[in-house]
């Protein structure tokens, strides 16, 4: 690893939360406008973050913070791998470790709300992980390598070879961002059946770090969408932002579904679309 890569990684680690926080702020503003409200200021996610840092630390047990740190560091690791154009398959595994850390943290406490939230999160992982792996398989079939740098070297955009995989990935994005209709592991608003689900027992700094990880995840996932149109990169970024806008619209027009429905539809439609795309590539 050269010094150049190190500098790129450091800049990316500093820039990602700023971009992620701003995107979250825009999300909240657009959501408010869609609901005919004025909405919070653009910098609201940062205010929430710094306020949470200043709160009294209440830890339910000693290991809780370790899991939160694991959640953060694995997400940062996956993001750095994307920025340095490393192995896509390894990136997916590290991303899964990040999600598992949060589930372990939620499982380590005795609150039933937290535990049910964690179990639903496991169901979500069960639903989306196969689709993510099939996406990696599709990328390998197209470029002949798991390396992200090969995607950038590939002259034809991935979107033209993998249109159905792209649609399946968009579908998975809604689950991964925990947006409606798949927001059942941590409901977006209070006073619902699971209070705050997964994050019920996290407070203060821990909650702030989970929020920070969410910003990293958001930038990472939008970055993965960008890979589908890596040449020229600005088209990919525009596609990623357009997909994010679609997510906000879907978030606002849909009600929450049950996890049974989600697993069924993701396995049939998500895996189905991705498989059809890959089989079709073998045949043609």
């Amino acid at each position: 690893m050269s010094i150049n890569n190190l500098i790129i990684a450091v800049i990316a680690i500093i820039a990602a939360p700023i971009v992620g926080g701003l995107l979250t702020g825009i999300d909240r503003k657009i959501t408010a406008r869609m609901q005919n409200r004025f909405g919070p200021p653009l910098l609201q996610p940062f205010y929430d973050f710094f306020k949470l840092l200043g709160k009294q630390g209440i830890a339910v047990n000693q290991t809780q913070m370790v899991y939160v740190m694991g959640h953060l560091f694995f997400a940062v690791g996956a993001f750095v791998m994307l920025v340095l154009k490393q192995d896509l398959l390894m990136l997916m595994f590290i991303l899964a470790f990040s999600a598992v850390s949060l589930i372990m943290g939620a499982m380590s406490v005795r609150s039933p709300y937290s535990k049910i939230g964690a179990q639903r999160e496991i169901m979500q992982m069960m639903a989306y992980e196969p689709v993510l792996l099939l996406m990696v398989v599709g990328v390998y079939k197209t470029t002949g390598s798991f390396m992200i740098s090969e995607i950038f070297a590939h002259e034809r955009p991935l979107l033209f070879s993998l249109p159905l995989v792209f649609l399946a990935f968009l579908y998975v994005l809604t689950i991964k961002l925990r947006k409606s209709p798949f927001d059942f592991s941590t409901s977006h608003h209070g006073h619902q059946e699971l209070i705050k689900g997964l994050t019920t027992e996290f407070s203060g700094t821990q909650l702030a770090l989970i929020e920070l990880t969410h910003w990293f995840d958001l930038v990472l996932l939008l970055g993965l969408i960008t890979l589908f149109f890596a040449q020229p990169i600005w088209v990919g970024i525009l596609i990623a932002l357009a997909s994010y806008f679609c997510e906000i619209v879907i978030d606002n027009i849909s009600a929450r579904v049950t996890w049974q429905w989600m697993v069924k539809v993701t396995w049939v439609a998500g895996i189905g679309a991705a498989l059809v795309n890959i089989v079709w590539m073998y045949l043609i």
Binding site: R37, Q44, Y47, D48, F50, G54
Partner: protein, 150 residues
């Protein structure tokens, strides 16, 4: 500490607990979150979880059955925290004051920082009460720091 103090004023998350309210004040509390008043423009979010909350909104008078629930919620909230008593019942016990099981206002159970009178309190008054509560968060934080050093 500047940025944290500023953020604290911009992002008060409220938790709402109904003691023995007639639901009049509760409806007005939720009315603050509707598009007409939109409390979220001030960063106010209604969280259902005491561990995430900064401000506790209490409606209705305290009685012997719900006093321990109220204390439990208050104790689960991390410092700095502020309690806003909303409506005549939460302030003094209101028309239920003389009942044999009613302990009077909420202040007989937990320390209250802001009293919002009215039966029921108007949404404007409630938002004003929350904003006055925000003003007290900083001194609470200073007290919290002094307490942790001692």
């Amino acid at each position: 500490m500047g940025i944290i103090s500023k953020s604290r004023k911009k992002s008060p998350w409220v938790m709402h607990y109904d003691c023995t309210s007639c639901n009049g004040c509760d409806i007005e509390v939720l009315a603050c979150l509707t598009p007409l008043y939109d409390a979220e423009r001030l960063g106010i979010i209604n969280v259902g979880n005491p561990k995430h909350a900064d401000i506790l909104l209490v409606t209705g008078s305290a009685n012997k059955r719900n006093a321990h629930v109220l204390k439990n919620i208050y104790n689960q909230m991390p410092d700095p925290k502020v309690v806003v008593a909303i409506g005549a019942c939460a302030c003094t016990g209101g028309i239920f004051k003389e009942c044999y099981n009613v302990m009077g206002g909420v202040e007989n159970v937990i320390p209250v920082d802001v009293f919002v009178p009215g039966c029921c309190a108007r949404p404007e008054a409630i938002i004003d009460g929350i904003v006055q509560g925000i003003g007290k968060l900083d001194e609470k934080a200073d007290a919290m720091k002094a307490g942790s050093k001692a």
